[in-house]
Symmetry: C2
Subunit: 571 residues, 2 copies
């Protein structure tokens, strides 16, 4: 019998000073975890139980989907990472060390290199493919700013899976299997989530999804359809362009106006009284090594991922003050497309810029703008395309009504890698005709410890955590009002034994604390059901209280087990 | 249904070139593990299943013993290690790294610092003690010479537990509980092991035991009693001294003899025809900073741990050539006690030296020895004590007959830490009288991945592994002789389904390989029972073969499940 007095569940009344969000506060206050160093946590017994339950669900769904569990090392030789190109590319987030012989190693944030090498060495025929290998393991990523408890850590627990197929269609199936498994996993752990389309960059092929737990504190913005299933990351969400009929093609000729010190869209709308939507925001960007002038409407935001994909580039950034001056001869804030040589500098624009008939642009001269500007008439654009962030109220690109925004925490990611790793690492197979081809890979991650935090973030109230039954550390909290009263104590022990024998997981609070203290801890720890044993037990009843609803009913001890089982089944 | 054709079990016919021992060869050949870098392994699906079974047994016994599972981080801030003094003391085996802010960390080889800090911060009253916290986790130790597959690794899986008590008696009980749990664990995983007394150094208090799997390839020598339970490490085993009656007190006076180039015991016995047992080996040792002359009989070995404990020293080593010359004025090989000033240099001797009546010693002069030497008469000894290694044939110090030697691999260790960590790290509690006292700690380790290797090392034959049922990756291997024959294939699938439904874990070899290939793989993988399905299945029988004994019986399919269950129960 698990007696709370003997267990290591250090609950706290005070809110930890460094905790900004509910899950972080509750992780610490309910005695689930303790920080050892920035972004590095110990999981205490109660927290570990939850993690193990999440892991069991992950394992179950992964196995059902035909994936095979294994474990790869944390320490990975640098040579492997050099082969894939990630030793350079990963930057300071990769934890690096040298062994005693001064050989460089990385501590794995993911395991593409290791698994690709392994499969390359062991599988060489299409007959042994497809295969999907996964592991549940501690990962390392030296975040520049660890925060939010288990949401963004430097050492964390991840499930990562890697599929190897012979064809693109095979990958599509492996990918869909993982998509379905993830949907099952996040449903079973009790998360409110959405699978959102994400940008795959130049290698992702047709699909990459992030599984987002919907939380106010999420650092990612999700654009979702008010009707239907569509959801996408801000960086990915396509903007539908419906051409607006030109209102007035015969505007006056461009006219230079003096706008001393007026640089931003806000300043322009304020000082000139123009609508932001008729300003043409002109951004000098650096796309890899190329200078590009990008135009978007003043009320829109440039989407740099779309810009990057347009040029199939690796890096996109705003040009520096000096680069801007060199390109257009004006300081930032006064840039515009007029007079820019389109042969030397690409002028590209978001679709919605072409609707502007009487626009305002920078004059490429300090403290001057130009009004009455019309694209096509006064300057030429090389390419109109979708280059802006979607906004709330835009049309859903799949016809699902309008777009609304939500915040999310990424808890899972399914990604089509294609041959990004198999080609440089030489992971090939012989097909039916004896031809050598690179394996076609997918990778699939779940932040296990982050999922724990996300569940708490979504399931709590001012008193503490409210665990979903599926991953609650225990199902039932048995609390005698006064443990010194023999009848109560003995009844508590007997009921605990009976519940346990019936397969219900019980935490028995045998502590000699005041009832109020025990109730406060029970609410904080948040087991789905609390059974309170008072003097009424002398008449054969105990109180059964549901943590989530607060519903409390007196139940006869003879009916207790069936009552609790019924409640647990529907909670 | 698990079909072998779809599983990642890369068996090999060839023996890996770097593998010296059976378990290493078989780990690789049976597709259980693959090396990524020296001493760093991936666990493939079959190997991981075994590890998980070992872990489940460990968990079960630890929980039964009242220990609570948690998980601590791998990355540990250097400050913690500086506080305990281990940052310096641990040497190059500690894997060290700097984070992006250049703060130093260790990758945990053990977790005394972390757990002591944690308990210090969370527990301050005797009311919450005792407590025993454990974890099963990946550890890091940068071995100078990783070898023997999973026996000596740089990254490995360990179960480590830490107990915190208020009294020495409490520690004794926690220690005994762990001793018993370990005995259960190693029995259940099927190891032939012995709990051997080990040296606790200056801090270990009354008891420290190593659990040794008995294997020829073991790097440790175990001295055990031919009768009774006594077993100890060579460094620990006490030598009983039974004084020998002096044979001849009236030997001639010492006589210097010319022994050019004759330095070693072997050379002396050969060239002078004396018994090694009448040579007094004179060793100039450095005990911390002190020079000591240590005498042992020529046929005995100095036990440096006993010497270290005698002086309560940290380091013991032989003196350098220069130090020897400075101390006795002679080169190594010609040192002796005669003429050494006992006021300046301690002369200590093993008990058995006092039995020598007509001894040979170095003359403290190059190329000369002295014969007819008698301790007490010709030189004085400050202390006679037990300073030598036990030898086979010595009396058991506990009266258990004679001592014999065996080789062992350490798979577990139970150790009384006392206040070694709680004092420097400030882990104190208030006792019943409100007095602050340091917690009294024990630590308890099991090499989980090493245990896997040790089980294989003890359970194999020329054809492969022979798994104990308790940790076999699966219980039964179902093999149709020819998968192309419908009756065989269908029977195999049906029987696999039935066995699985009966709770028996089945690996079904559905591959289109020749029977010989499948049998070879089956022997290599070594599941306890193989069920072979041939044409006899048309008459309703299949062959059930026991891997360990080779016993093969035709069993009717209707009786198969009960037959297999009975076999598994007794294997």
């Amino acid at each position: 019998m698990l007696k709370q007095s003997q267990m290591f569940i250090p609950t706290l009344r005070e809110v930890p000073s460094d905790a900004e969000i509910a899950s972080h506060k509750l992780l610490v206050r309910a005695g689930l975890a303790r920080q050892l160093a920035s972004g590095i946590y110990s999981y205490l017994p109660l927290g570990l139980r939850v993690l193990q339950k999440i892991q069991a669900i992950v394992r179950d769904e992964m196995n059902k989907a035909g994936a095979q569990e294994m474990v790869m090392p944390a320490m990975q030789p640098a040579e492997l990472w050099e082969k894939s190109g990630r030793w350079e590319a990963y930057g300071p987030e990769l934890v690096r060390l040298n062994d005693r012989h001064n050989r460089p190693f990385a501590l794995g944030p993911t395991h593409e290199e290791v698994v690709t090498t392994l499969v390359r060495d062991e599988i060489n025929s299409y007959k042994k493919l497809p295969i999907n290998l996964y592991q549940i393991q501690t990962k390392f990523r030296d975040e520049v700013r660890p925060r939010f408890g288990l949401i963004r850590c430097r050492e964390f627990i991840m499930k990562d899976a890697y599929s190897f197929d012979t064809t693109q269609e095979g990958l599509d199936k492996s990918f869909q299997d993982m998509f379905n498994a993830y949907t099952n996993i996040f449903t079973r752990v009790g998360l409110n989530f959405r699978a959102v389309e994400a940008d795959a960059g130049s290698i992702g092929g047709t699909g990459t999804y992030e599984f987002m737990a919907l939380c106010e504190i999420g650092e990612d913005t999700i654009a979702y359809a008010t009707e239907g299933n569509y959801a996408a990351n801000l960086e990915k969400a396509e903007v539908v362009y419906n051409a607006a009929p030109k209102q007035d093609a015969s505007v006056s000729a461009p006219e230079k106006i003096h706008t001393p010190g007026v640089k931003t869209i806000e300043q322009l709308t304020e000082s000139l009284g123009v609508e932001a939507s008729s300003i043409i925001k002109s951004l000098v960007c650096k796309v890899d090594d190329r200078i590009v002038l990008v135009l978007v409407r003043g009320d829109h935001e440039l989407n740099d991922v779309k810009l990057k994909n347009l040029y199939d580039a690796t890096n996109v950034d705003f040009a520096s003050e000096a680069e801007v001056r060199a390109a257009v001869g004006a300081p930032i804030g006064f840039v515009g497309p007029l007079g820019v040589d389109g042969e030397k500098i690409d002028i590209i624009a978001d679709n919605y810029v072409q609707d502007i008939v009487d626009g305002l642009v920078g004059a490429n001269e300090a403290d001057y703008h130009i009004k009455h500007v019309q694209p096509g008439r006064d300057f030429q654009v090389k390419t109109y395309t979708d280059l802006r962030n979607i906004t709330e109220g835009d049309d859903c690109p799949r016809g699902g009504g309008k777009i609304a925004f939500a915040r999310g925490v990424e808890v899972g990611h399914v990604f089509k890698l294609g041959t990004k790793y198999s080609e440089p690492m030489g992971a090939t197979f012989l097909d039916e005709n004896g031809r050598s081809k690179p394996m076609i890979m997918g990778c699939y991650g779940i932040g296990v410890s982050r999922t724990l935090a996300a569940v708490i973030e979504q399931n709590n109230d001012e008193n503490g955590i409210i665990w979903p039954v599926s991953i609650a550390p225990y199902h039932v909290h048995v609390i005698p009002i006064n443990s010194k009263v023999d009848e109560q104590r003995l009844a508590a022990e007997e009921l605990t034994a009976k519940l346990t024998a019936a397969g219900i997981e019980v935490l028995y609070d045998d502590r000699l604390e005041r009832a109020g203290v025990k109730f406060k801890d029970a609410d904080l720890i948040g087991l789905p059901i609390r059974i309170t044993i008072s003097d009424k037990v002398n008449e054969g009843t105990v109180e059964v209280r549901v943590r989530r609803s607060g519903e409390a009913v007196d139940v006869h001890v003879d009916e207790l087990i069936s009552y609790v089982k019924e409640k647990l089944a529907v909670l």
